[in-house]
């Protein structure tokens, strides 16, 4: 698989990663070589093999839907770059 510059730009957009234009050709080369490695998977037929998501095939535990954590809103918001009036601030999302 060979990725072109436009493929890399699209993937970077989907992943919300701003790349410098100068770096894109190198990323295209490296990602293509990783995908070539990955495509060695296609040398085996796996049609009759079921996918394995959990190494021990255990299902995840469920718990009662009750509050178990204490409220640490202020401690957590203290980690943010921009908080005002108890709200996380970001650039305007919706036009008025």
């Amino acid at each position: 698989m060979t990725l072109e510059k436009t493929n890399v730009e699209k993937i970077a957009w989907l992943a919300r990663l701003k790349l410098s234009d100068n770096d894109i050709p190198e990323y295209a080369r490296q990602l293509s070589s990783i995908l070539t490695l990955v495509e060695q998977m296609n040398t085996v037929d796996t049609v009759s093999v079921a996918p394995l998501a959990h190494p021990l095939e255990l299902s995840l535990r469920l718990r009662d839907d009750v509050v178990t954590e204490e409220n640490q809103r202020e401690a957590f918001q203290a980690l943010a770059a921009h908080v005002e009036a108890g709200l996380y601030w970001v650039p305007k999302v919706i036009d008025t």
Partner: protein, 484 residues
């Protein structure tokens, strides 16, 4: 005193030959004098260590101590540590002061261990040489021109250089075992679900597992006993009774069936590393083990499958870093997408970006079946190989890494070359098995790691076999020049 094992330190503290405060000062002093050369610590927590050491001494006086009370330890900077910077080796978290303790940190703190600091690592645990760290590479104490391995490179370096008697690590594709091998140490990656992942910054959640890096199997067993156990806060934690991993260390290994996978001894294995492993196999035979050849035919597919599963999970896990709630935030964002994209673009390094993009691509519309589902099918083939092998063998033995420590910069130009160095460790994570690496000899002045792989929850047997080997050999007792 810094030459002592955990067991010896525990006895010395018991007999009041030294206090925890004195012991802690010895290590803090070594770190202050020596670590500029190695770069194994991102943060040294001197004040916290002195406070915890004082508390440990009080506990020992009151008789309310355990074997680890008062013994210092270093934590990989992937484990959240309350009130302490937890960077995960990334610019993204350079300003992140963890608001809570990871379960591993909390358990070892409750056992009375003293936190010396947070160790350097590949950024978000993505790397095999510790060269992707935002804080610069770590040097191997056996040869300063060479890498310590990764991603737990700082932990391995600190223990090898006797800057800490032991350290925590994490292993997603070999990140405990490979640095342990390259630095002449004993490190164990437990069965998936054995050690809680709560507060351990996630890379690939179906593969990540924490474990100890120490100087012997005996020390690793003591630490693993304190680290492991069911944790309701980790939804994948195994619901099993607690286990004492030290209880069977001294058992005989007479009759132990050891399988040598032929795929681990073929093309790609350095012949001198191979010779060291073969002589270790003879030592195991002298101890009564019965050795036979086995096959893990899908080993060659483990790296391709891993580089779908791990990036896919990482692209999802690392989506949380958005410049809003914590971590790096870019200046002067034009709009919300500019805030996300530039915070992530500026906050993550190149290897993390590559893996996020591979994962994003593999999970994007139209590609899911060809990549992610295909990789999960291969994952079953790999696990089934091990299932069949464990019908013939109790323990599987091979090299941990195809070569000894390589030079700094040698593999940074081509990601795929770096990935291939994990050929003997990655399949174990895909299958969720326990495996440990222990030192088995040298090629020139560089340590060689031997890997023992067990069936699910077979940690005690691995530690037993490793301990018996270490009773008969002294490779694990060697220290780098200037550190002994």
């Amino acid at each position: 005193m810094y030459k002592s094992s955990l067991i010896q330190l525990s006895r010395a503290l018991d007999r009041r030959e030294i206090s925890s405060v004195e012991l802690t000062e010895i290590y803090l002093d070594r770190i202050a004098r020596m670590d500029a050369e190695y770069n194994s610590f991102i943060t040294v927590t001197g004040e916290l260590a002195r406070t915890q050491a004082g508390e440990a001494d009080q506990r020992r006086q009151a008789g309310s101590n355990g074997p680890l009370t008062g013994i210092p330890i270093a934590h990989k900077d992937i484990f959240c540590t309350r009130g302490v910077k937890t960077s995960c080796g990334s610019r993204m978290l350079d300003n992140f002061i963890a608001p809570y303790d990871a379960t591993v940190v909390e358990k070892l703190r409750r056992a009375g261990m003293v936190t010396l600091g947070k160790t350097n690592m590949d950024e978000f645990a993505m790397g095999s040489s510790n060269e992707t760290s935002f804080y610069g590479p770590v040097r191997n104490p056996w040869d300063l021109e060479r890498v310590p391995g990764g991603s737990s490179g700082g932990s391995a370096c600190a223990v090898a250089a006797r800057l800490a008697p032991a350290a925590t690590g994490t292993d997603t594709g070999g990140s405990i075992r490979q640095p342990a091998a390259l630095c002449g140490l004993t490190g164990i990656k437990p069965t998936y679900g054995t050690v809680s992942r709560y507060g351990m910054i996630a890379y690939a959640s179906s593969l990540d597992q924490g474990g100890p890096i120490a100087r012997s199997a005996e020390d690793a067993a003591l630490l693993l006993t304190a680290m492991a156990g069911f944790d309701a806060r980790d939804s994948t934690s195994a619901e099993r009774p607690a286990e004492d991993y030290s209880a069977h260390l001294d058992d005989s290994i007479e009759g132990l069936r050891i399988g040598l996978p032929r795929e681990f001894f073929g093309e790609g294995l350095d012949s001198q590393v191979g010779a060291v492993i073969e002589s270790a196999v003879k030592q195991f035979e002298r101890l009564g083990a019965i050795v036979s050849e086995i096959s893990l035919p899908n080993t060659r597919l483990s790296i391709p499958a891993y580089y779908v599963v791990a990036p896919a999970e990482c692209s999802s896990n690392l989506a949380r870093f958005d410049g809003v709630r914590y971590g790096y935030r870019c200046d002067d964002a034009l709009d919300i997408n500019d805030l996300f994209s530039r915070s992530r673009g500026e906050g993550f390094g190149a290897e993390v970006k590559r893996r996020i993009m591979i994962g994003t691509y593999a999970l994007s519309a139209g590609y899911y079946d060809a990549y992610y589902l295909k990789a999960q099918r291969i994952r079953r083939l790999i696990r089934d190989d091990f299932h069949r092998a464990f019908e013939q063998a109790d323990v599987i033995l091979g090299p941990t890494s195809p070569t000894v420590a390589f030079k700094l910069g040698e593999k940074t130009g081509d990601p795929v070359t770096m990935y291939l160095s994990d050929i003997y460790t990655i399949s174990i994570n895909l299958a969720g098995l326990p495996a440990l690496s222990l030192p088995a000899g040298f090629v020139a002045h560089l340590p060689v790691g031997l890997q023992l792989i067990g069936d699910h929850f077979g940690e005690a047997r691995l530690l037993n076999a490793a301990h018996r080997y270490q009773q008969a050999t002294d490779w694990h007792a060697r220290a780098p020049e200037g550190c002994n």
